[in-house]
């Protein structure tokens, strides 16, 4: 220890402090600050580049998810549209069928009614014809038959009976 103190040189200590403090100050201004700033800047740059890459990746993912969603929705829509169309078609067919049936029924009914009325008309016509024919026949018969009183009477009776039968 004594030797150490004896060796201690104040002059060297003085120069050492002076040189070192000056070196710190000079290097701080001309070296350390620019170096650390540049390193920091670079690191920030790398960090932000990585972050933006990550951001882009996420956005891409989101976009893809969106696309997927859209596609899914479109598919669902198509599906529902198809379904609806099918339903409409079926309904239309069913409706058409029903309508046709109804129409047919109506036509049949009309036809039947027409037939009925035609028949009615025909029957009444026929009745008229028959009646007139009968009258004609009766006239002729009467003309012939009514030559004698008996025959006339008998004919009347017969004819009346016939009419009743009809």
């Amino acid at each position: 220890m004594e030797k150490l103190i004896e060796q201690f040189s104040f002059g060297l200590f003085f120069w050492q402090i002076l040189i070192f403090v000056l070196l710190v100050l000079v290097l701080r201004k001309y070296a350390w600050k620019p170096i650390l700033n540049a390193v920091n800047e670079r690191e920030e740059g790398i960090k932000s580049a990585l972050e933006s890459a990550e951001q882009a990746r996420k956005e891409m993912e989101n976009l893809q998810a969106d696309n997927q969603q859209l596609l899914k929705e479109a598919r669902a829509e198509r599906e529902s549209m198809l379904k609806e169309a099918r339903e409409i078609k079926e309904k239309m067919i069913a409706d058409a069928k029903g309508q046709a049936q109804e129409e047919a029924d109506k036509m049949i009914r009309q036809a039947q009614a027409t037939i009925q009325s035609e028949k009615q008309a025909a029957v009444s016509q026929l009745k008229k014809e028959v009646a007139s024919l009968s009258i004609e026949i009766a006239e002729k018969v009467v003309k012939e038959e009514l030559s004698s009183k008996d025959k006339q009477l008998k004919l009347v009776d017969d004819m009346l009976n016939d009419v009743k039968l009809n």
Partner: protein, 369 residues
Amino acid sequence: MHRFLSHYYLSDMRRDFIEKILVLMLIFAPMMTWAQHELTETEAGSEQQKEGIQGFIEHHLQDSHYFTLTEDEESGSHIGIPLPVILWDNGVKVFSASEFHHGETVAEVDGEYYALYHNKIYKTDAEGTMNFDEDHHPTNVKPLDFSITKNVVTMLLVSILMFILFRGLAKSYSSGPMPRGMGRFFEPLVVFVRDEIAIPNIGEKHYKKYMSFLLTIFFFIWFLNLLGMTPLGVNVTGNIAVTFGLALLTFLITTFTANKNYWGHIFWMPGVPKLMRIVLAPIEVLGMFIKPFSLMIRLYANMTAGHVVLMSIIGLMFLFKNWIGSTLSFGLAFALSILELLVAALQAYIFTMLSALYFGMAKEEHDDH
């Protein structure tokens, strides 16, 4: 930490290499003792040489007024640069260290005489008389010595080197986000100091204002440690005045940036009984000074020890004077040099790390723990 080690040094290949050298040493150990026996025969000559080596090591560890590249004791020739001497002795006295002629002559400046004795400058008379006390310490007056010594020159060189390197790194960012050239190597170290030393110890919130000091001290100590490994023979970080200065700065920054919580922990420790607080206060105050003191001693002792051991082993090469011993000493010196390279980085790391830790304590906030 581990990452740091593996980066710098302990790759498997190198570890294998060191293991091989150690095994070789074990094999040759008996021969070494034989070599030492042989040594006793020429003891008289080698004793002198031993002292010479010891003196050389001691001389090397100290600061000097010459930037000596090489010297020859026998012929007394020196190759190196004499540095300026600046003395404060009733006014500033500046002269070249060459006037001392390596301690052989007295320098005369403005009618005052100065002598160089064991690298220290003493006031003396025209004949260069030195007075000693019973412990053989000189009693002559020592003027305040502000000389630009070898260590000061080395620190200036390292400062210039650091400025060029890191200014270059800072400028290289203007041409793009990646550094170029040497910056490729130094930028990860700067980031290491920030991410592994500053942020974990000080915290995200306050670390920025300590960064300049931490970065400067890390590279300053590391470069000086590495320069100590070169044949220039400088030993700056193994000088107590230098480590004292560095530790003092850490102490001052810690003390002057400390928040209320830090002082609260020192003088009135929360969470312990009142009596204990009174007992703890002086211990904590002592701790304030012991922390930077340990920084100073750790760096000084590690670097000095490294230099002493390495130089002793290199000295052994010359003492053995036979091919086995000298070769082994060379191998050992080589292995130790690699170890010292690690220590150079490690000590810089530890000093910076602990400084950051103390700054972190000074800035710790109450809800942090």
